[in-house]
């Protein structure tokens, strides 16, 4: 009886999760299918999972004319993501570890110092003035790397929580008695223990870098430094601008015949998303393990 009830519950459990996953994945499948659907078919038959006529026009449009650019964009994106993630994770660890030490004087002030950045920001114009006038990052690789993304308060808080909850104080003391310095403690004890969390955060930071188009929009005008998201986002935002009232007012729209169509926009989404989905299973292995122990304040 009990066995039967258990089985029954398991079926319901899986059913619930399968429905949930279905809801998550179906809209994504719809984009993929639409990106391969013939434009006219899309018009006449509407959006469908089983289009009558397939077409790779959208992809040839993107990769045909600007194929080299997209490829170059991938190179820029990968470079930025790798360097950015590595630098960012080092900074995060270096900040979070001292913050996790209950005995650190002024610990709360530093915690507030970090948290405060999550609430207030000075806005785009002052940031832009500073980064371009003082640091001259406009149209450099650094423009994609440095502003906003290098250190994030939320990740520091997560990392700190992980350290406080998983690394026993006794362990730290044992290392100290053995004569280890703070640096050896961090590199020999803390970092190996925190590997799952580090890879988790690395994934999130990497995702942030990969998906970022704002830095490119604000700080880059030279196509040499366009990341793939920049190129794709430009395609989309060109459409949005040209269909805005501002454009029509100044008569810009009179010659805009070769704007990307619906299918192209959908394939833009697929091209931007694909590498993440492919990299995801690799990170995923560590992802849950990482948060598992870290939590936010577990």
């Amino acid at each position: 009886m009990n066995m039967k009830k258990m089985k029954y519950a398991t079926v319901i459990l899986h059913l619930a999760l399968i429905i949930l996953c279905f809801i998550c994945i179906v809209p994504f499948l719809l984009i993929v299918v639409s990106s391969f659907t013939d434009e006219t078919t899309l018009m006449i038959n509407g959006y469908s999972f089983f289009p009558e006529k397939l077409s790779t026009y959208a992809y040839t449009y993107i990769l045909g004319g600007g194929g080299v650019k997209v490829l170059h964009g991938y190179v820029v994106s990968i470079g930025v993501t790798l360097i950015g993630t590595a630098t960012s994770i080092i900074l995060t660890i270096l900040f979070a570890y001292p913050l996790s030490r209950r005995d650190l004087p002024l610990r709360n002030i530093f915690a507030f110092f970090v948290f405060f950045t999550m609430l207030f920001n000075g806005g785009l114009v002052p940031s832009y003035m500073m980064w371009t006038k003082v640091f001259h990052i406009k149209n450099t690789f650094g423009a994609l790397l440095v502003p906003n993304l290098l250190l994030n308060a939320f990740y520091i808080i997560m990392m700190r929580t992980y350290f406080t909850t998983t690394i026993p104080t006794e362990l730290l003391e044992a290392v100290k008695i053995d004569g280890g310095s703070e640096v050896t403690t961090l590199s020999k004890v803390i970092i190996p223990l925190a590997k799952p969390m580090i890879s988790t955060l690395a994934f999130m930071i990497g995702l942030g870098y990969w998906n970022d188009w704002m830095n490119g929009l604000y700080y880059v005008t030279d196509s040499k430094y366009f990341s793939v998201q920049n190129i794709l986002n430009r395609m989309l935002s060109d459409v949005q601008f040209l269909s805005s009232a501002a454009a029509t007012q100044s008569g810009i729209s009179s010659v805009t015949s070769n704007l990307p169509t619906t299918g192209v926009r959908m394939s833009v989404a697929v091209i931007g998303l694909l590498p993440i989905l492919m990299a995801y299973p690799f990170f995923q292995k560590y992802l849950v393990k990482g948060i598992m122990i870290g939590g936010v304040k577990g």
């Binding site: 959006y47 900040f95 110092f113 703070e182 948060i291």
Partner: protein, 303 residues
């Protein structure tokens, strides 16, 4: 005295570790905060930030003119409230369900799939929503309803509180449920064993063990969201409804209002004023909430 000096010296390496991060936060976050003075200035491009004349509180005035002022505040707070409550509930339920899955492979598959929506950018989500709701060739009207009784989604405000809530939950529940799920896994299994021996059912175990263990995470995440309760996701409220005017009564938030109001004039001072007010009110709220948490449950306070 020498003892104290010694103590400080001991921490110097730790402070040194925090130095690069501190410098970065000062440069990236704190120095630009000086720009908040723009909220009180009439910004003049040729005079620059410092020399521009003061303007009192008049930059704030545009937020409170007209019939829409209270609507956008109501929408911003209302949606955020719903998102926090429903989002947290859904995330916890999914996390608990995930925890009940026995097979490791199946569990991993579920986890991967529920994160997919989180990875899709909002602009693209707006095209997906359009693909479903488009009146002439949308999936719902065209395929599900077969053109009969087609619903004009983009001109009917009554559906949108639900659509927006659904989209927001769809996009974010995977991420937050994984965080809760991780915390659940961290719970000492002996608690459950003991409860099981005492004859507690699954539901009872959830109420008396899982939820209390999740409390610190819930509190921290909620406090963080309270701080941003006057902000809204611009993409969600502007791009998902395709900027459709007829829906403004239920889709207008402070951020979309400011965007529309300043699009033509590109008024830096007014934009700063709006941001300043949103941050300040959020700060007051989160500070108050944190104070309360501090009184009731000191361990879980944010700072």
């Amino acid at each position: 005295m020498p003892h104290k000096k010694n103590k400080w010296r001991r921490y110097i390496p730790l402070y040194m570790m925090m130095l690069p991060g501190t410098i970065y936060l000062i440069i990236n976050n704190y120095i630009p905060m000086g720009g908040l003075v723009l909220a009180f200035k009439k910004f003049n491009y040729s005079l620059g930030m410092i020399k521009s004349p003061w303007n009192g509180l008049s930059n704030f005035k545009f937020l409170f003119i007209g019939a829409d002022a209270w609507k956008m505040i109501r929408n911003t707070l209302g949606y955020n409230f719903v998102f926090i409550v429903l989002g947290t509930t859904l995330a916890i339920i999914v996390a608990i369900l995930l925890n009940e899955v026995a097979g490791r492979k199946a569990r991993k598959l579920y986890q991967t799939i529920i994160l997919v929506p989180y990875l899709i950018s909002t602009v693209i989500v707006s095209y997906i929503v359009y693909a479903f709701l488009s009146q002439d060739n949308g999936f719902i009207n065209h395929t599900l309803l077969r053109g009969e009784n087609a619903i004009s989604w983009y001109t009917s405000p009554k559906y949108w509180p639900f659509i927006l809530t659904f989209v927001q939950l769809w996009k974010s529940f995977g991420y937050s449920s994984i965080i809760y799920f991780a915390t659940i896994i961290g719970i000492d299994p002996t608690y459950y064993e003991a409860a099981s021996i005492d004859g507690a059912g699954k539901l009872k175990q959830v109420v008396s063990i899982t939820l209390p263990c999740l409390k610190p995470t819930i509190i921290t995440l909620t406090l963080l969201s309270i701080g941003r309760v006057f902000y809204s996701d611009f993409g969600l409220f502007y791009q998902i409804p395709m900027g459709a005017g007829t829906l403004l009564d239920v889709t207008q938030t402070i951020d979309t209002y400011v965007y529309r109001a300043l699009l033509v004039s590109n008024d830096v001072g007014r934009a700063a004023a709006a941001g300043f007010l949103q941050s300040l009110l959020g700060f007051i709220l989160v500070y108050g909430a944190n104070l309360m948490v501090n009184k009731i449950d000191k361990e879980n306070a944010l700072f």
